[in-house]
Amino acid sequence: MSATIEIRDVAKIFRQFSGVFTAPRMVRAVDGVSLTVPAGGCFGIVGESGCGKSTLARLILGLHPASSGDILVDGRSLMAMPRRERARLIQPVFQDPFSSLNPRRSIHDIVGLPLAAQGISGSEITKRVHAMLERVGLRAEMAGRSPAQLSGGQRQRVAIARALVLGPRIVVCDEPTSALDVSVQAQILNLLADLRRDMGLTLVFISHNLAVVEHICDEVAVMYLGRVVEHAETDALFRAPTHPYTRALLASVLTPEPGLGIPDVGLGDAYPDPANIPPGCRFHPRCPMVTAACRTELQVPRRVGERVVECMLA
């Protein structure tokens, strides 16, 4: 049995200090997102920096309380769940394995910490840590080393081992391969795909690398300035992107095919600022298809065939 995550109209607003005498800036990092993550799948969330994808990941992990809305796992509210129980259900893998592992601890302690926090005894911890390290492709004797003695790829394997040692049903990966070299990135992606299949995990995979998302995800949600602007099955999304932003995002993927040149993505030099969200459609200052109505009318998600698009032109 796998978990289903239901995100119901979730918002997260941060107050950003902007000086002693000025009012704090209200950063609407996630601004009304509703999504259903099916059990056992790999769900991709893509978007540019500042679109709120990492904040959404932290909300799903329960690391931030939501400002409004609710997140349900198997019909139970995440907010109401005790921390230890949540930890047995959902675990994270973060981007940078250089800062997400405590440099003063051994690998054994890092991977064993979630077990210790659940009150499991020392010998049982060692047994499970060794088994987990081998499962992610590390030798058990690495348990005695410190993170500084490992390469980037090995560290990310340790982070994955730590995430899986409690046997969670959901793993939220926030840019798990962005800090790694391409040859190592492929090793880690293959490992995640194996583990998902063998352990029946539900993966939430957050990335700005569309080629990677296309390769491993079944469903993709595209975020822009705190909202999901398009959500569809991977094939449908990549074959026929509907939102102008999705199209620009896909057009800017540079595949290793010589002779194609660099595409004109046509987005201008406006830059999205989550503390200063434009009226009407959030994307209108950069949209190549903008109409007068886009500048004033608030967009709502609409179902177009099998996909959900937040654009009146779609």
Binding site: D181, V182, Q187, L189, L249, L254, T255, P256, G261, D264
Partner: protein, 326 residues
Amino acid sequence: MSALLEVSGLRVRFNEKAEAVRGVSITVNKGETHCLVGESGCGKSVSALAVMGLLAKGGIRTADALSFAGQDLRGLTEGQMSRLRGDKMAMIFQEPMTSLNPAYTIGSQMAEVLVRHRGGSKRAALDRAAALLGRVGITAPGLRLGQFPHQLSGGLRQRVMIAMALMCDPDLLIADEPTTALDVTVQAQILRLLMELQAELGLAILLITHDLGIVARMAHRVSVMYAGKVVESASAEALFAAPTHPYTRGLLDCVPIPGKIARGAPLGSIPGTVPRISLGFQGCGFRDRCGHADASCAQDVPAQSFAEGHDYACRLPAGWATERAA
């Protein structure tokens, strides 16, 4: 086409234990983009810094030849080098926030480049700065000149860096991972801008990147680096059509290409990690990770040619990859 930058047998070491660059040869022709590609630690950035004479303290550079526009760079003093840098040889770095001075406005930093190298008034320099900001696609250049780096987005800062590099009409632009810190949409915009500028100004570009997508789309010539050496060098078409060094082939297999690899099918990957190369290292640096290595790989690696202008450093015969596939 004539060679603008000629590097041959470049070696860099920082101490007695490690050699970062072990005999790199690159030629960049006028109006051409030469991509230096490889994973972190392969020596691509150090090679570029060595060419510009910007190695960190303690770095020792030797080369059989190192010439820029016919001028031998090896004998130049630091003063002569610094007159060349930012003038005929300009550079852009990865992180525009750390390469711009946070305490000065965009305008004063840009004007300084021109005044230092060419003299003239600050006013005239500011006019040129405004014109160039417009050229790199920045709206309201007058406003931007008065702003500080922290007031600009990452994409805008990188455009400012490019405009600043162009202040003195350089012949060669060395760009070290210029778009790695940027979003994909902004990356496409910046790279497109570089291509336009190249066509317009006849710039030669030495582009350092780890991204094979950028290489395929931007490069005329490509040099693949591994463990301080160029392991394969060819035109972009030739390299992607017939990658011959096992490392190049492995690297290309690692990249998911939408529509080419079935979803869920495992990606190719290269086992192991990049080795540390000590001084006096013998043989092929890739042999520990290579599926084709044998005992002879621990001795000197033969330099072979796949075709005219397509060279690689490996013991395997030129047609090995295609024969195996057939």
